[in-house]
């Protein structure tokens, strides 16, 4: 292995955590990490040394997730409305263990619209700067901060409700 590969290995726990914030299903989350790793290794030449590898791979993982979601909705459209409803239900109900282990905060985050959840995740969980987080989602800083503010406002209201 070379330095790039070693750094990817070191990032694995954080990549798995990010994937878990996107996909509620644990196996799907790890599939997503695998796709991101494969793409990162294929495209390693486009990584500029001296910049942050974590942000770079996070962006790849997020794009893989968006591709996956698109493919899923395409499949659902082709399969027809009845099966679509079933597929959506499947995706939304993780198995019993997974539900039990989620904390109140994780459930509150999972209930946020995905764009807001990702903004909150990158800044508050990963500790990225606004500029780095904006790069990951490939959007202007203003877009990032407005998602961050909306997501956080919702979280604050919910947590106050449960004595947060």
């Amino acid at each position: 292995m070379d330095a790039f590969q070693r750094e990817l290995i070191d990032l694995l726990p954080r990549l798995r955590r990010f994937a878990r914030s996107l996909s509620r299903d644990h196996a799907d989350a790890d599939d997503l990490v695998q796709t991101a790793l494969e793409r990162a290794l294929q495209r390693r030449r486009s990584f500029s040394p001296g910049t942050r590898l974590d942000s770079w791979v996070f962006a790849i993982l997020r794009n893989a997730w968006i591709d996956e979601a698109r493919a899923r909705s395409r499949r659902a459209r082709i399969a027809g409305a009845a099966e679509e409803a079933e597929a959506v239900a499947d995706a939304r109900v993780p198995d019993f263990d997974q539900r039990l282990t989620a904390t109140a905060m994780e459930r509150a985050l999972a209930a946020l619209p995905e764009d807001q959840r990702t903004a909150v995740y990158l800044v508050l969980v990963e500790g990225l700067s606004y500029a780095e987080a904006a790069k990951v989602i490939d959007a202007p800083v203003g877009t990032l901060t407005s998602r961050l503010v909306r997501g956080r406002t919702t979280l604050m209201a919910q947590l106050e409700g449960v004595g947060g």
Binding site: M1, D2, A3, F4, Q5, R6, L8, I9, L12, P13, R14, R16, R17, R20, S21, D30, V33, Q34, L37, E38, L41, R44, P49, T101, T103, M105, E106, L109, V120, Y121, V123, L124, V125, G127, S129, Y130, T145, L148, V149, R152, T153, L155, M156, L159, E160, G164
Partner: protein, 248 residues
Amino acid sequence: MIDDETLMAYVDGELDAGRSRELEQALAQSPQLAARLAAHRAVRKRVAGAWSSVLVEPVPRRLMTVVEGAKSNERPEVVDLSAVRRMRRQATAKPAPGSAGLLAAACLAAGLVIGFSGAILGPAPSVVTRGGALVAEDGLARALENQLVADQSRTQAIRIGFTIRADDGRYCRTFLDRRARLAGLACRTGNRWTVPLAAAVGGAEHAGAYRVAADEIPPPVLAAAQAMTSAPALDGPREAAARELGWR
């Protein structure tokens, strides 16, 4: 009026100095504002721990395999420390004006070995010069002293390759220090581990002429270890016994 976005930016460390000062002045005069700030801090703290349990889960083998199975971009190369020692002798033999000069000469010589480039080894060099010999220190010294090959996990920063009993009676161990990006051979000499041979591994982007890599111990280090003994490497029980006896 200070809005929530400003308070959030403040707790995220994203507010510039001027606006931070304004906010702090306003805070001193308004308990309500201070309470809102405290609420934002609390949310930040609670969100930060979300999904933290994932970080301590074992990483599935298949994900490691995706990375490890990919083609490596680097080739190993080795630095012969006896050449470095000769250079050190020359450097210190030269009369240097004043202690600053001596220090510079020593750093120059040591730097060749310890940090082929400062960037490789980072803030904590694992091999230093002591009384003219290269000696393992800190984490590396502890690993050499305590870590058994059989007990290692693949995530450890320092990995021991194998242990031999050299023909001169010393125990020697090959090692790979991922954090320091250094691989080499260390021999228990008296009460410390001296390092007769080491090579920078990985970090080709920094290493210049010492362009090297790999997560494995480079072949020349293995060859040097094998040349020191006519016996095979110690097996698990023998290695454990040698540690029990303090590698003597």
